[in-house]
C-alpha cells in the first residue's frame, strides 16, 4: 500500500475548499498528522498576524494512527495563533493543543480528511462539514447564539449518530479570549483560545462523518503490535480503579501536587476528595480505542442545582478553584464547570483565577466599586455573576474576557502578583510549581507556549518517580551514551536529574505522540514507550523507523514551531518563570517552596536560568536568545528556514 496523506483546505473568505495529497516521502521528515501540520503553518502564517485576523490559520490534525484500533489512538492536535498566550506588548504565540474524542477525530479520517486547514473568515456564521464527498461550508445562522451541547446534539441529529462534532460556545462567539472548543461534548480542546479564534472566523462548529476506512501498510504486523500493547495495558494493576473513576481518580496525588495551600488537607479532602466525587459521578466514557476511559458524566445531587448533568471532567478544576475561592459546596463549583462545558465554552481555569484575583484585590482596595460596577464580595453569588459577565462581555466581564494584561491595563494590577501558580506568557497555569515541585512539565511551561500538559506527559510529570524508573524510560528513546550522561549527571542546580536536558527530548517525543494521535496517559503511566511508537509508525506507513529517528522528526517539528514564534519576536526573555514560584507558599501544614525534582533543595531564579541554559544547549540553540542556530537548522534539513531567525 502506498501511504499518502490528504490535506483539505477550506478558504472561508472565498467560500471554496480543495484537497492536496502528500506522499510518505514528502511527509517523512516531520511525520504526518500535526508534524506536517506545523510545516504547513510555517509556510502559510506570516509574522505579525493578529489571532483574530482573517489571516490567522487553524489547522486540525487527527493523528496518523487515529481511526485504527491501537490503544489511545484517538487524539487530534489543533495548531493556531492563540489570543491569550502573548507578550504584554501585544505579540501572540502560535501553539498547539490536543484532545481525544470518540467520533470527531476518527470521523475526519474516515471521511478521507487527514488534516483540515482553515483559512480566511466567513461573512456570516457557518458550519464546516467534512464528509465523504469533501469539505463544504454551510450556513449556521440557526446555530449561532446557542450553547455547545445544543449545537452538538443538533448536528448529530442531522448527520447521524456516528457523526463527530467540534463546537464553540457563546463565549467563543463573543471572542472571550480564553474560549475553548469541545469535541463530541466530552473533550475540551484549545486552552489559550481556539474557540475564540474559530469565533473570529464565524465558524460555529465542524462536523465530521465518513464511511471510508483507514488502512495501514502492514495490516497483520500492525494488528499484532496493537494487540501486544493492549494486553500490556490490561495487566496494569491500577486499571480497575481507573476505569471505575476515570479522571475522578488520582485524588491521593492531586491533593498534594495541586494544593493551593489555604485549607487544611483534611478539610479539602472532606469537601472535594474522592468520596465526594463519587456522590456525583454517574458514568465514565472512553475515547475511541481506549481501554483506560477517563471522560465523565456527572449529575449534581441535591442543592440548588439538583439533577443537573454534565459531561467532561469537573473534579480537579473545581477542587482547586473551590479552595482558592473559599467555596465549600463542591456542587456550586461543579455547576460552573457544567455551564462552561455545555454552553459558553469559556476556560474555567483562567476565568476562575481572574475572578479570584480581582475579588481579592477589591477587598484590599486595589479596585474600586466604581471601577468594578458593583461590590465584589468574596461570595459565590459574586463569582457566578462575574463568570456570566465574562462569558457575555458585560461590564467588568469585558475586561476579564480579555485576560491578565487587560486587567493590568484597567486596574494597574500586575499579573505577577497572582498567588497561585502565577502567570507566564500571558496565561495562568493549572499547576503550581511549589507543591508540584519542578518536574519537566513545569519546565515546558517556560519553554513553549502551552499552559497545560498538552501531550507532554511522560513518567516524570509527577514527583516521586525514582531515578531508575526515569532512566528505564529514557533507555527506550535510543539516546546515545553521552546524552544519557548529560541527563543523569549531578549538577548544583538540578540535582541528579537534569530537567533542562531531559525536557528537550520529552518535548520532541510529545510532538511524535501528537503527530501519531496517541493519548499521553500511556506514556505517563509507563504502559508504552517511544520504541513501541516506532514499531506502530513503521507498520502503519510502511517505513522502518527507530525511536531515536522518530524523536529526531519531533525535533524538526519543535524547531518549526519555534521559528514561527521567533519570527514574531519571541526569545529567551519571554521564557521567564512567574515571580510567585519563588515566594514561599505558607500553607497550614507549613512552608511550601519550589524544589528540584528529588526535593533536595529550594530552587532560585538562577537555578532555573541554568536549567534553561542546558535546555537551549541540548537543542543546539543560542543560550543567550533561545533562538535556533543556522548550523543546527541545516543539520536537521531545515536550512531554508535559517533566514527566518534574526
Amino acid at each position: 500500500m502506498n501511504w499518502t496523506e490528504r490535506t483539505w483546505y477550506v478558504d472561508l473568505s472565498e467560500g471554496r475548499s480543495w484537497c492536496e495529497e502528500a506522499s510518505r516521502d514528502e511527509v517523512g521528515p516531520v511525520i504526518g498528522g500535526s508534524g506536517r501540520g506545523w510545516q504547513i503553518l510555517a509556510d502559510r502564517l506570516p509574522p505579525g498576524v493578529d489571532p483574530f485576523a482573517p489571516e490567522n490559520v487553524v489547522i486540525l490534525n487527527p493523528g496518523v494512527l487515529v481511526g485504527t484500533r491501537t490503544v489511545g489512538a484517538s487524539k487530534l492536535t489543533a495548531i493556531t495563533k492563540f489570543p491569550t498566550i502573548a507578550s504584554e506588548d501585544g505579540r501572540h504565540y502560535t501553539g498547539s493543543c490536543t484532545s481525544g474524542g470518540r467520533y470527531f477525530p476518527m470521523g475526519m479520517r474516515h471521511a478521507g480528511c487527514d488534516r483540515l486547514v482553515i483559512l480566511g473568515k466567513a461573512a456570516r456564521p457557518v458550519v464546516i462539514a467534512v464528509r465523504d464527498r469533501g469539505v463544504e461550508i454551510e450556513d449556521a445562522a440557526d446555530l449561532w447564539g446557542r450553547g455547545i451541547d445544543e449545537v452538538s446534539v443538533e448536528l448529530v441529529r442531522r448527520e447521524g449518530l456516528d457523526a463527530g462534532v467540534l463546537a464553540i460556545g457563546t463565549g467563543g462567539e463573543k471572542l472571550v479570549r480564553s474560549a475553548l472548543t469541545f469535541i463530541d461534548r466530552t473533550n475540551s480542546l484549545g486552552r489559550g483560545g481556539l474557540g475564540a479564534v474559530l469565533g473570529s472566523k464565524n465558524v460555529k462548529a465542524i462536523v465530521a462523518r465518513g464511511s471510508g476506512g483507514v488502512r495501514v501498510a502492514e495490516p497483520d504486523t500492525y494488528d499484532r503490535i496493537s494487540n501486544e500493547l493492549l494486553a500490556h495495558v490490561l495487566e496494569w494493576p491500577r486499571r480497575e480503579h481507573w476505569i471505575k473513576l476515570g479522571l475522578a481518580a488520582g485524588w491521593s496525588t492531586f491533593k498534594h501536587t495541586q494544593n493551593p495551600g489555604m485549607w487544611e488537607k483534611e478539610h479539602w479532602d472532606k469537601l472535594y476528595g474522592e468520596d465526594k466525587r463519587l456522590e456525583s459521578l454517574r458514568a465514565v466514557i472512553a475515547c475511541a480505542s481506549c481501554p483506560l476511559n477517563c471522560r465523565l458524566r456527572w449529575q449534581i445531587p441535591g442543592g440548588e442545582f439538583d439533577g443537573e448533568q454534565g459531561l467532561g471532567s469537573p473534579y480537579s478544576k473545581s477542587a482547586t478553584s473551590g479552595q482558592l475561592l473559599g467555596i465549600e459546596d463542591d456542587r456550586k463549583m461543579i455547576h460552573l464547570v457544567t455551564e462552561a462545558n455545555a454552553h459558553t465554552g469559556i476556560d474555567y481555569y483562567t476565568t476562575m483565577r481572574l475572578i479570584d484575583f480581582v475579588t481579592r484585590m477589591y477587598g484590599q482596595g486595589r479596585i474600586t466599586k466604581q471601577q468594578a460596577g458593583f461590590e465584589l464580595e468574596r461570595s459565590y453569588a459574586t463569582y457566578e455573576r462575574l463568570y456570566k459577565m465574562t462569558a457575555e462581555r458585560d461590564g467588568i466581564g469585558d475586561i476579564l474576557a480579555d485576560g491578565w494584561y487587560a486587567v493590568k491595563e484597567a486596574f494597574g494590577l500586575d499579573p505577577q502578583e497572582y498567588w497561585y501558580a502565577g502567570v507566564c506568557k500571558g496565561i495562568d497555569f493549572i499547576y503550581d510549581a511549589r507543591p508540584s515541585k519542578f518536574h519537566p512539565l513545569m519546565m515546558t511551561f517556560l519553554t513553549r507556549p502551552r499552559p497545560h500538559h498538552g501531550g507532554s506527559h511522560t513518567r516524570t510529570n509527577s514527583r516521586n518517580k525514582t531515578l531508575e524508573e526515569i532512566r528505564e524510560q529514557v533507555e527506550h528513546w535510543g539516546l546515545d551514551a553521552d546524552t544519557m550522561d548529560r541527563i543523569f549527571t549531578d549538577t548544583p542546580y538540578s540535582g541528579r536529574f537534569n530537567v533542562g536536558r531531559y525536557t528537550a527530548y520529552m518535548e520532541d517525543l510529545m510532538r511524535v505522540k501528537n503527530a501519531l494521535g496517541l493519548c499521553t496517559i500511556y506514556t505517563y503511566q509507563a504502559l508504552f514507550f517511544a520504541d513501541d511508537m516506532a514499531r506502530l509508525h513503521s507498520a502503519a506507513v510502511g517505513d522502518d523507523i527507530t525511536a531515536r529517528e522518530l524523536i529526531a522528526c519531533g525535533e524538526r517539528v519543535t524547531n518549526l514551531a519555534k521559528i514561527i514564534n521567533v519570527r514574531d519576536g519571541f526569545s529567551r526573555a519571554d521564557d521567564q518563570p512567574p515571580d510567585v514560584w519563588f515566594r514561599p507558599m505558607d500553607a497550614p501544614e507549613g512552608r511550601i517552596e519550589i524544589q528540584d525534582y528529588f526535593q533536595t533543595k529550594t530552587l532560585t531564579k538562577d537555578d532555573l536560568a541554568r536549567m534553561l541554559d542546558d535546555y537551549y544547549d541540548e537543542r543546539g540553540w543560542e543560550t543567550a536568545t533561545g533562538h535556533p542556530t543556522e548550523a543546527r537548522l541545516r543539520v536537521m534539513g531545515l536550512g531554508s528556514y535559517a533566514s527566518h531567525t534574526p
Binding site: 470518540r102 446534539v153 449518530l161 456516528d162 461534548r185 464511511s211 488502512r215 471505575k244 458514568a283 475511541a288
Partner: protein, 96 residues
Amino acid sequence: MSATGRLVIWPERCRGCRSCQLACSFTRTGEYNPSRSCIELDRDLRTEKTAPMIRTLTCNLCNGEPACVDACTYAAISYESSADQVMVEYRRGGAK
C-alpha cells in the same frame, strides 16, 4: 452464519470506545472502518450513553471466535456456545 453461538450484549458496560467496530471491520475487510463492521453503536444524545447493536444479517460470529469480544475491554460483549437459534441476547448488568 457458519458458527452456532450467541453474542451476549451488556449495554450498561459499554463505554463507547468503538473498539468492537474497528476490530470487526478489520477482521472482515483488512481496514478499520466502522461503517463496514457488523456492529452499530446506539447513542443516547441526552447522556452520551452507548451500546453495541449487532447486524445479524452480516455477522458470522467470526466462525466462533468473535473479534468484537476480544476487542471489548469493558466486557460489554461476550460469547457463549449455543445450539439454539438465538444469535444475540441483551442482558442487564452493571459496569465491570
